[in-house]
Each structure stands twice: as C-alpha cells, then as structure tokens.
Subunit: 451 residues, 2 copies
C-alpha cells in the first residue's frame, strides 16, 4: 500500500528509521510510537495528494509541524502516516498597511517575526517553544503575551485548509472583523489536526511597542503576588506580560545560575507603553499597587539588556529544573482558573505535591489564571505524577476553570473532556463525524468517533 | 397544534396581533411577516420546553432578543414561532476579581453596563443599538470600540445553550484562555439562532479607562484621513475608537443640528490612556501623525462633556440622515476590507452611488476597515439600492474583504455566502445538518439545509 503513496509523491515519502523515530514522539515523550511512513510536504498539492490517498486507502494521517506539542498530539497510535509540514516554510506575503502576513504552516514563530520585524511589526504569540505557526494554530497556542495580544484565535484571521479526502477550503477572511456565516476558522483553530490540515495561514501583526519597561516584584506570599496582579489587571496599565514565579522556582534558578535572587514568590511584569512620558508614571503606579499588596522589593529595567537580565529568572526556569533533575521526564500541568482562584490553586498544588512526595516548581501566566507546575518525574514517580495531574485538573474544573489553558487535550487529557464539557462533547463528536466521518485525521486525539 | 404549546407554557404564549406584529420585522423593515405565535420565555426551562415542543411538532423557532438585527435575522419566513428572550433579563453574577459577569440573554448592553459600572468595569462592545447580549452574541456584534476591545467573540467566554429538541449544553469556560476540545463557543457566536438558543452568557469585563481624550481631525480628502488612521494603527497609541466620517455626513449633520462643522472628511479618535502624564504626549502624537497626513484642523476634548459634544457629529449621523430623508427605508451597508483598501472602497462607493443616482453618507470603523454607507431609499429606488449593495459587496470580496463586518448574513446576504466562502459553505451546511438535522432553528437564515 505504501508503494502507491511513494508513486503519488515521489521523493517525498520516507520509511527511514531516523525519520520514523523523529516523528514518534513530542515534547512529553511519555508516549512514543513510530508512524508507518513520513510524507514531507513541500506545497499544498502534496497535502491534497496525501489526504486523497489517505481516503482511498483508509490510512489515517497525522499533521506534524515542529513536534513541540505537549500532550501527545502528534504521536501515532498505530498505522498512521505522519504528514510533515515543516518544509512548507515560506512567508508568502507581509502586508504592513493591513497589519497581516500570510505564511505557510511550517514557518516557525521566530522566522515569522524575523520576516516582519523590518516593518516595525511583530507576531506576538509566544508559547516558549519555537513552534510552527500551523502547529500553534492547531493547538490554539498562547503564552506570556496573551494578556495583551490574545492567543492564536485572536491572531489567526484566515486559513486555507485541506479536508479529509483532499478538498481545499478557506475559512475566515484577512480582515479584522467579520460576521459572515459560521466561524469555521475558530472551530479549526485548536482542533489539533483532527478536522483539517492547514496549508496557509493569514495572521495578524501588531506594531512593535515603542517603549517597554519591566519590573520584578518580590512578595512574601503568593496571595500577595496575586493580589498585586489583580490590581494591575483592574487598572488602566498597559500590561503586556504578567508572570508569577514561586519560591521553589527562584531557588532552582539560583542554584542553576549561581544568582542570588530572593527566594520568595515574585511577579515579573512588562508594560508596552505609548510614550516616554508614560513610562515613569506607569512604573510608579505598578510600584504603588505592589506596595499596597505587601511587596518586599521592586527591581526595574528599561533597556533591552536590563530587561533580558531581569526576565532571565523566569525564562531560565525550565532549564534550571532540567539541570537540577536531569534525565527525568518533565510533566507540565496547564490548568487555567478564574483569577480569584489562582492563590487557592497554588495552595492546592503545593499541598498535593507534598502529599505525593513530588518536587514541583510553580510559574506562569497569572493574568490569565494559567499557572503551570513543572514536575520532574523519575520512573518510580510516574503513577504519582499522573495522580497529581488528575487532582489539579479536578480542582481547576471544580472552580470553573479548564483542564488546559494552552497545550490542548491531545491524548493525555482526553479523559477530562467530558468532565469539563459534559454533553457538549456530543456536539464536538457530531461535528467531527460530519467533517471526518471515516476518522482519517489524527484519530484518537481530543475525542473518539463513536464505533 | 398551538393549543399544546399553550398547555405546555401556560400564560407565556401569545397570538395577539400586537405581539405578532412586533415580532414580524427587525431594523431593516425590508421584510415583514408575523410569526404564528410568540413565546415569552422567562427562564431556561421555558426555552427547553419550547424547543422540545418544536421538535415534537416539527415547528421551527426563531430566537428573538431586542429585534435590532439589521439583515432580517428574526423575520419569520412562514410558520415559525418567535421565542422572545427579552424577559430573561437578569444579570446573574458580577465577579469583579475575575473580570467577568454572567447574564441572561435578554439583558441589554446598557443594562449590563449599569450593573458593572459601580465596580469600575465596563462591557465594551457597542454596536450602537441597545441590543440584547444574547442577540449580540448571535450576530457576533462589534462596533466602535472593537479596535481596542474586540467584538463579541473576544468578549463572550462561555455560553449555556439549548440545542434543537431541548438538550442544554455549556460551551467554553469562564476563564481568559482555554485550548480544551473544539471551540463550539465561537461556532455558536455569530450563528444567528440557527444552531442553538443562548440561555446564559459569561462575558468579559474590562477596567473603565482612567483617562480618555478625543480628537476630531478634519482632512481635505478621504485618502488623507485613511493615511492618518493607518499611521495611528501602526503606532503604540492606545486607540480605543477610530471613526471616519465623509463630507456628505458632515453636511447632513450641519443641516440637522444647525452646526457649522467643516464639511470635509474627518476622523474621530479616542484614546484610553493609562495616566494623566500620557495624555499630553499622546494627543501631541496624534496631531503630529495627522499633520503628516495633511490634516486641516484639529479639535480636542478631555472632559466627558466636551468629548460628548465632539463625538456628536458622528453619533448623530443616523438621526441626521433620517431627518433629512424622512419616511424612507435606510439601507446600511456593512462591508469590511483590509485597511489599505479603505480609501479605494470609499471611492468605489461614491462612484456607484453617483452612477445609480442615490444619496449616500459614508461613515464607520475605519481601523477595522468596516466603513458603512447609509442610503435613504425611496420606494422607486429599491432596485437601485439593491444593486448598489451588491456592487459594494462584490468589490469588497474582490479585494479580500467580507460581505458583512458586523451585521451578519441573516436573509438579505445569503446570496453572497458562497461568493465569499466557496466550498467552506458545504462545511457550514454539514455542521448545521449535524446539529439541527430537522432545520428547526431559524430556518432560511445564513444558509439552507439541502433538500
């Protein structure tokens, strides 16, 4: 059967062990299984051909971007072809006057930003990893700047997508707003390759901020840090990043970097300001809000170099954990809760980690209520780590939150879908059945078709 | 058959002529037809009962909010029951620390704002009319503040919705971000009552701006005004409203209000600033950008009273047109185009209006490329008005825009759906068939089920 795939896509299909291996796992590495073959697509026609062949032979397909998913999204479950889009890596158009760009799915976010920086523009969604734009759309990625600029749903304006069987459609338009027909664009964003394969994305661009200042605010307690964060969100301050880091995170960073940061909960705040004149008053207002919430120490930074240094404790955290706990698997939880529930979420996290004997660090996007826990997991801790993750999700759901703020459901979180969404899962299943009745696109991810 | 409806919902079903009349048309008044009856729902159970009865008797239902739709969304096409949700008008919860509120669908946007203002918060989506929150979600409404705060898709976090037949589901969560399962929430927002009836909405709230300033900038040409608008969008200025008004609009306002505004294209700009210190430098920057684009005159306003006076020319426009052309129907076009296409769109609009002998004024949300034309239509002009609308949509689509930036497809714009979306319409139809196979919810709006 694979002979016919080779014949339809000569030179673009690989069964080499190294290629199969590379497409057998994502960042979680908890699941690992090679695909039957890898198709390296270089244009839309390759994708159409692959999906037509998929339908004719009833062979499922998994779209693959940069492989940085965190919940097993791109891991084969048995018999699938991996459809690698990383070779579709051209930025097709940059339209500065329209504040948009058109990119192929394999373009990484850093490549996209290099392509638009010269126009004074930026593509703001920053999930940490240098993910592909297509993959980011597939998971509705977000990150540190979402508080200001939104995530992928806000920043993907239109998609060209190939449906199971190979039909090409376009969803959305390259404009800032539309109320025209059903919003298929947002249905497809976050669908993790289970409804369609993206072959072109029209994304929004934003002006690079004129003036940026950053502050690190050290608190005695997480509750104080969250209170300050809430006050900032209630103000008119132009918050662009607002990150919470816990005591154990700061300790890990100090050990790894040899620094001497206070080992206490901290907020990392960044403002994108309209004018030099605003900088001083905004920085003062941040400090004032922080004093009202019991801040112990305020450090500020204005130049790019100083800001990079200030942010390093937050940005180096994952490396610090890896250095302190080498050769582990790293579970990263991803719940999001209403802002008023963040302090309690952190307390529950610390309590459960302690009860299960797990070392954890807690850090994340407090403004969005999406605070991650990083758990270095030794093999003998695997069951406890899973239980820990379940407990956090159950708690988050019980207070109105979500099982996954950014990473998506993938395989690992399928068990939470009905707990979170109840009967809406039946509507999701009906939509999947309507669009992919044969279950050819990334089967077993997010949800299952009824048998 | 209606007897069984009366029996299931005693005291809540009306066949009175006045009620039928009130539910027979929307703001366009181009189409008018009474429903078979009106159900006045006061709680979710009424909605469930009505939709269960609808399925049992195969009677279609049209959800009705405040009746301010503009494309015939709520006009019966024959035999439907109107399901009036205006009596479900309670704000159920205001959660200031979570920046969200929970409201029934019949709450109007002004009532919602009254409920949250005391907390220093606002619900920013402002489509002009005092529409219901449910109706605004159904059409993905936006308006003057979308440039800063987004439209309904950005501001509706979660929905409780009743499906055809009466099953209740919840879509989305009351958090700022989620990547959990398919985005049914955004599929339902903008679906105009054709997929589900909303019985509860969780909406995002924003801090009221601390400092606001407004400017009216008069230009010699539309091209100059658009160039200035583009420069503002490319800057770091905290633009919150950015409206374009044409020469004929200013003339109409002068005649109606007896004012003496320059009769020339103008931009109305509003900034929501973080600090007093920023105000001066931002106002100066706006003026500087405007001078670079050939502004003739700059007027500024800071106090609430002065800003209201400055904005009156924009806000009074529709009344001015109605006063100058009484007893007409008023066609309001709603195309949106990429920003670089706005000046040409205005030129095409003026040219076609002239060729068809129609008086028009042009004004709207230039930052979003969504500039409306208001056409007072005398009966003998009806065909020409329709042709005018068609020409504008065709032009907008040809340059990558959309047939409808805000108002939706309804009935009047169904003919454009395939021109705009191509084969994606088949996916929309498949989704509709999956969720409403009997075609019981607002049939004939947006699209048609295959026979």
């Amino acid at each position: 059967m694979l002979e016919s795939l080779h014949a339809r896509l000569p030179g673009k299909v690989s069964e080499r062990a190294a290629d199969l291996e590379q497409h057998s796992a994502d960042e979680t590495a908890a699941l690992r299984r090679p695909p039957a073959a890898v198709v390296f697509a270089t244009d839309r026609h390759d994708v159409v051909t692959a999906l037509a062949w998929s339908q004719e032979t009833r062979t499922p397909v998994i779209p693959y971007g940069a492989g940085t998913s965190a919940e097993g999204h791109i891991v084969p479950l048995g018999g699938e072809i991996a459809l690698d889009l990383s070779g579709m890596d051209r930025v097709l158009a940059v339209c500065p006057e329209d504040f948009l760009a058109v990119a192929q799915p394999g373009v990484t976010r850093t490549a996209l930003n290099r392509a638009v920086a010269g126009e004074g523009l930026l593509f703001p969604v920053d999930p940490g990893a240098d993910a592909s734009i297509g993959g980011m759309a597939a998971t509705n990625a977000s990150g540190t700047t979402t508080v200001r600029y939104g995530g992928m749903r806000s920043n993907v304006l239109a998609l060209e997508a190939v449906l199971p069987g190979g039909k090409v459609i376009r969803c959305g338009r390259g404009v800032r707003k539309t109320s025209s027909g059903y919003d298929l664009k947002d249905l497809f964003v976050g669908s993790a390759g289970t409804l369609a394969v993206f072959t072109e994305l029209t994304v929004a661009l934003h002006p690079q901020p004129a003036h940026v200042h950053a502050q690190r605010l050290v608190f005695g307690t997480v509750a104080g840090a969250v209170a300050a964060a809430t006050a900032m969100m209630a103000s008119a301050l132009p918050v662009a990043r607002l990150e919470l880091v816990d005591t154990l995170s700061m300790r890990a960073v100090n050990r790894h970097l040899g620094t001497d940061y206070p080992e206490s909960p901290a907020l990392f705040v960044e403002m994108h300001c309209s004018s030099e004149a605003a900088l001083d008053s905004e920085a003062e207002e941040v400090a004032a809000l922080a004093w009202d919430s019991g801040v112990l120490k305020v450090a500020s930074a204005r130049t790019a170099a100083d800001r990079a240094a200030l942010w390093s404790a937050r940005h180096q955290l994952f490396f610090a954990v890896k250095a302190l706990y080498p050769e582990r698997r790293y579970l990263i939880t991803d719940t999001a809760v209403p802002l008023s529930q963040v302090a309690e979420m952190v307390r529950v996290t610390e309590k459960e980690a302690d009860a299960l004997g797990l070392d954890v660090v807690i850090a994340g996007h407090v403004a969005d209520g999406n605070v991650h826990t990083i758990v270095p997991v030794a093999p003998e801790q695997a069951d406890r780590a899973r239980e820990f993750s379940d407990l956090l999700v159950e708690h988050a759901l019980s207070v109105g939150g979500t099982a996954t703020g950014e990473h998506g459901i993938g395989v690992a979180k399928k068990k939470y879908l009905r707990l979170e969404h109840g009967d809406a899962v039946d509507v999701m299943t009906a939509v999947k059945a309507a669009i992919d009745p044969l279950g050819l696109l990334n089967p077993g991810k997010i949800l299952d078709l009824p048998r």
